[in-house]
Symmetry: C2
Subunit: 311 residues, 2 copies
Amino acid sequence: MDEFALIRRYFAALTPAHPAVALGIGDDCALLTPPPGEQLAISSDTLIAGRHFPRDTAPADIGHKALAVNLSDLAAMGAQPLAFTLALTLPQADEAWLAAFAEGLGALARASGMALIGGDTTRGPLSISITVLGSVPPGRALRRDGAQPGDLVCVTGTLGDAALALQQLQVGQSPDPVLRARLDRPSPRNAAGLALRGLAHAGIDISDGLCGDLGHVLDASGLGAELQVGQLPMSDAFARSVMPAQRLRLQNGGDDYELCLCLPPAALAQARAACGALPLSVVGRVVAAPGLRMLDASGAPLPAPDSYQHF
Amino acid sequence: MDEFALIRRYFAALTPAHPAVALGIGDDCALLTPPPGEQLAISSDTLIAGRHFPRDTAPADIGHKALAVNLSDLAAMGAQPLAFTLALTLPQADEAWLAAFAEGLGALARASGMALIGGDTTRGPLSISITVLGSVPPGRALRRDGAQPGDLVCVTGTLGDAALALQQLQVGQSPDPVLRARLDRPSPRNAAGLALRGLAHAGIDISDGLCGDLGHVLDASGLGAELQVGQLPMSDAFARSVMPAQRLRLQNGGDDYELCLCLPPAALAQARAACGALPLSVVGRVVAAPGLRMLDASGAPLPAPDSYQHF
């Protein structure tokens, strides 16, 4: 099967017509009509087999996750998802693999209102590089540099599920299905990101671990924070399986795709209402003194765990 | 060196401030202010070591070529280059390699007026996936579906140089430096693409070989064409080195990054003037009957050579 037949069969009709897409897959470029008066939010993320997902991950889950981690970047900016390109590198054109991958990718794209507008397919070691485009009114994006002293540090959902599932896989255990689903099929928090525009001062998604990612917000804002590690939210499945000594490391293990937000205390109730059924937990407070301090339940300092290292 | 130090050192200041970029590298997404009233042209292309460039290619040339092949897609649409993201997968963070790669990439980006606005760096087998964004007034893009019967089929520059250099490398010969430069540092035809808006009915870039790429234009336009293979333009370096029996195959070998355009005969003189010093050669004519027919100097039909196969 040549590249063009592959694209026609699996990708050309993956997403329905979208009002912003003037020309979709099939030309040298796609043509997008940006929503008038809005800015475009753009991000690219690559997933490599064996590094960003276990090699035995189901192809539908790989398709889901590749788009989910990119959607998470739009969520962290409070941007409305619009469209994406897919650069797919495959060892061979395996039709069963492609059909399942496209199904997982397409289901999340359709659920998110995103159009697949183009990309590239090449032969090589399995990797998926996606670029997402979203829109946001000028001045309304959730940037990293807007935190203020006194802001509450909040996180959506629960932390550590994916890292625990991965650790269990690495030692040959079979993870709880709830944890495995959090590793393989993360739920990007786009509805929350949109709802928190105008409420949160700053936002980031937790892909590399809370400490490192919050550290980027603090660096960009020229501030520090105190984190109450006992307040880090955990799922029931995580609480049942985790060994206490590993809890903090795993809750900072990354691959969570939750949002970390800095918001004024007066906005907390409204922010929680905006998140609906998604829990929004207060885990710390922004302070003027630079640096991130981790405190246990007694207020005693703890050493910060390592963040995910890309190299 | 962690990912963030790597990005700060080699990529954060690679391109100067750009009026369309409201927020560049360093947040979850970049923010772009699209030129008012224009459409955005978007394309992604991936280069894999050993497949899209020889493994011994100089890193500065890899940086140049990775952006050039993407710029070529903007050229083929007649879109003004704006910005790009870079998803870079590297076996290790080799600082000398990175410095040279960034130099080659940055020089072409600056010469093209493009801003690097974000991306991703991951560890894995060397590959570079770039997404480019450009702008074009609505209705002015050079699409594939606009060819008309009677149009002249034209190509910019010369064909076959890169394919001949690659063939020579593959058999252990040292290519003529002019040919090797055409393989390693292709010149995307963005000025020509912009100048031909409103003159050409259809356009495509010649990345996979003229026959296959022109075939896409003809398929999209529901038409056919006759090509005079004796008219395919060749460089002096190509003419000196090529064996006559290989000429047609190499001139259809791809990796040229020239433009193929369909334009009305009355527009030829103006189109040539618009291309300035870049030659614009007439190589055939669009006809109503579907299919691509190759004709030799006597008008006798020739079999069509194969196009580049991605899989």
